[in-house]
């Protein structure tokens, strides 16, 4: 077939027609750099993450140690002041951020993996697979998750951040599964999915190549919502005294602040940092998600 004159690349060593991976990357960067929502959201999240990751290395005492004068407002030595016992709030905040991100990643991650796997399989396979998975989903959905969590967490002797995260993940996946399932149901009837099925590709290949990329922003949003949700559930558990034993978290800080009447005593530097921390993390994750959607969805791109 190389006898057609001037056919491009007829006798050169056939360059793989994989269309320029380089261009794709630079294209994504091009749009990413110009999206204020993405920049602001990821900026805040990364800053807080960095504080949580690096901060504890610069603090040489235990966050729960009584190190300083009691009930000090923020000052040069104790940046966020001290509690009514003389604990360094900055140290607590930094450690708390770390465990908050851990909870988000583990709780959100576990819930995301279970939820999307169940949702994709149920939506794509349909039939009895769908029936069974949907039934399980609905059963878990109507379990009073917080009560189960309280019971489960209360029975554990040593509670770590990871265990708490896994438990949160195991109870918070159903709505993600339902959401992913309904999206998959509508995508699975599209012609291009049908044509991929026609070519006899394996189920997981079709799901990862044809279905998932078309709802990538949806998936990222699901993860971010689960991430934020885990943080909030963990804060709730901490707040009622079921947080990590001997640990520090933003929720535990809030619990202590309330337990020792920081509100009534006007110690605002005790409860505002953890409360604001949780709010800012979850809020900027949402902004980040909107930005990501605009960058990766070619239909939303603006030149």
């Amino acid at each position: 077939m190389t006898d057609v004159a001037g056919a491009p690349g007829a006798d050169s060593a056939a360059p793989a027609p994989e269309p320029a991976a380089e261009r794709r990357r630079s294209e994504t960067l091009h749009f990413a750099r110009r999206n204020p929502k993405l920049l602001i959201g990821s900026g805040i999240v990364l800053t807080l993450l960095l504080i949580g990751l690096i901060g504890p290395f610069f603090i040489d005492h235990d966050p729960n140690e009584y190190v300083g004068p009691q009930s000090q407002p923020p000052n040069g030595e104790y940046w966020l002041g001290t509690t009514s016992f003389g604990q360094d709030i900055w140290a607590q905040f930094v450690h708390g951020l770390r465990s908050t991100f851990l909870i988000g990643v583990f709780g959100g991650g576990v819930a995301f993996v279970i939820g999307t796997a169940v949702g994709f399989l149920a939506g794509y396979k349909g039939g009895w697979v769908d029936e069974v998975l949907n039934m399980i989903t609905n059963v878990v959905l109507v379990l009073p998750a917080l009560v189960v969590l309280i019971v489960a967490v209360a029975y554990l002797d040593a509670r770590g951040v990871l265990v708490q995260g896994v438990f949160i993940g195991l109870t918070s996946w159903p709505w993600a599964a339902r959401a992913v399932r309904s999206q998959t149901l509508s995508l699975a009837t599209r012609d291009f999915v049908d044509l991929a099925r026609l070519s006899g590709r394996r189920t997981w290949r079709i799901i990862t190549a044809e279905v998932a990329p078309n709802m990538s922003s949806y998936l990222v949003m699901t993860f971010i919502l689960l991430f934020g949700g885990s943080i909030l559930i963990a804060a709730g558990l901490d707040f009622i005294g079921l947080g990590p034993t001997n640990g520090v978290s933003l929720g535990l800080m809030l619990e202590n602040a309330v337990a020792w009447s920081a509100l009534q005593l006007g110690l605002w530097w005790w409860f505002i940092p953890p409360g604001l921390g949780i709010t800012v993390i979850v809020g900027s994750l949402y902004i980040l998600n909107v930005g990501l959607d605009e960058v990766f969805n070619p239909k939303l791109r603006e030149l």
Binding site: P8, A16, A196
Partner: protein, 317 residues
């Protein structure tokens, strides 16, 4: 003989019983033949074209055989059909607009498809470029997302993809119905060109548009209520239709055939029968002006002239 369909019966399963969507369809398709498949909505056109490549979950293969190049096509066995698809039997989907994954660049999508068919993308890269140029597309489209192309461009891309592995049989299911008239023409011309260059051996072109099919097809098969009414060379169907249904269908067309004008166009009174409990005998009997006693018996599909088949008691006379 490329394709030989014998007494094919495919039913849809419903709660109220089987819908006899294809009830004993027989026809042959020769090498290099482009067959137009025409008929009213619900006559079994789409069911036939789907049956040839894949039955969907509600469709049941009840009887009859399909042979392609002398080999039996296991249409009821989805697994066994996989190796045949794209290599032997290929399909141009109805809506090219939605046939391309919007999140994949076209080149990447084609590569994935080729790999799933066991073909190394590098081996056909040159051929792919050549064919894109043949249909008037810049090979640069490989580096674009589907939304960057117009409807006609997408349709041409899909045509190139469907025929890239040189299938024996190409099924084009209403490929022109979503396009404007001039694009329709270029798409139809490209399909004929593909046949002439032997990218595809033969083609079934499903359409409502008899005037378009008259210009490009070699033969036309008219279906009615799950059966073949008439199959004949395109010219014969338009100029000398034998089956009363074909006659009424052709007389309902404004453009084709002789340029008689002035008279009001006639429609066909009535509607096709429901296929849940199809009537006995000739299924066109209730709407047919020529119906007589014998029509209570099913008329066989007979060859009344070489290459001209019709299923009507009156044609033999």
């Amino acid at each position: 003989m490329t394709l030989r369909v014998k007494d094919l019966k495919v039913y849809y399963q419903t709660l109220r019983g089987d819908v006899h969507a294809l009830d004993g369809v027989s026809f042959d398709l020769a090498d290099g033949e482009i067959m137009g498949l025409a008929g009213e909505s619900g006559c079994g056109k789409s069911t036939l074209s789907k049956s040839l490549i894949r039955l969907d979950s509600r469709m049941r293969h009840v009887g009859g055989t399909v042979e392609l190049d002398g080999e039996n096509v296991p249409i009821a066995d989805d697994e066994a059909m996989v190796p045949l698809r794209y290599h032997e039997i290929s399909l141009i989907p109805q809506y090219a607009m939605s046939a391309l994954n919007p999140t994949r660049k076209i080149g990447r999508m084609i590569n994935e498809l080729l790999r799933s068919r066991g073909v190394r993308p590098g081996d056909v890269a040159d051929e792919l470029r050549r064919r894109l140029e043949l249909v008037g597309l810049d090979p640069e489209v490989l580096d674009r997302f589907p939304i960057e192309l117009s409807g006609g461009m997408k349709q041409r891309v899909v045509m190139v993809i469907s025929t890239l592995l040189n299938p024996s049989l190409l099924i084009a299911d209403e490929v022109t119905s979503a396009l404007d008239v001039s694009t329709q023409r270029s798409v139809a011309e490209s399909l004929v060109e593909f046949r002439d260059r032997e990218y595809v051996r033969s083609m079934v072109f499903v359409t409502h548009d008899i005037s378009l099919v008259y210009q490009m097809a070699d033969t036309i098969m008219v279906m009615y209520a799950g059966r073949v009414a008439e199959k004949a060379p395109a010219r014969a169907v338009i100029e000398d239709p034998r089956h009363p249904y074909t006659r009424m269908l052709v007389s309902a067309l404004p453009e084709v055939g002789s340029t008689v004008s002035g008279g009001r166009l006639e429609g066909i009174p009535g509607t096709p029968p429901g296929l849940l409990n199809p009537p006995q005998g000739c299924r066109f009997r209730d709407r047919c002006p020529m119906a007589f006693d014998r029509c209570a018996e099913q008329p066989p599909l007979v060859e009344i002239e070489p290459g001209h088949w019709a299923a009507c008691w009156k044609t033999g006379e």
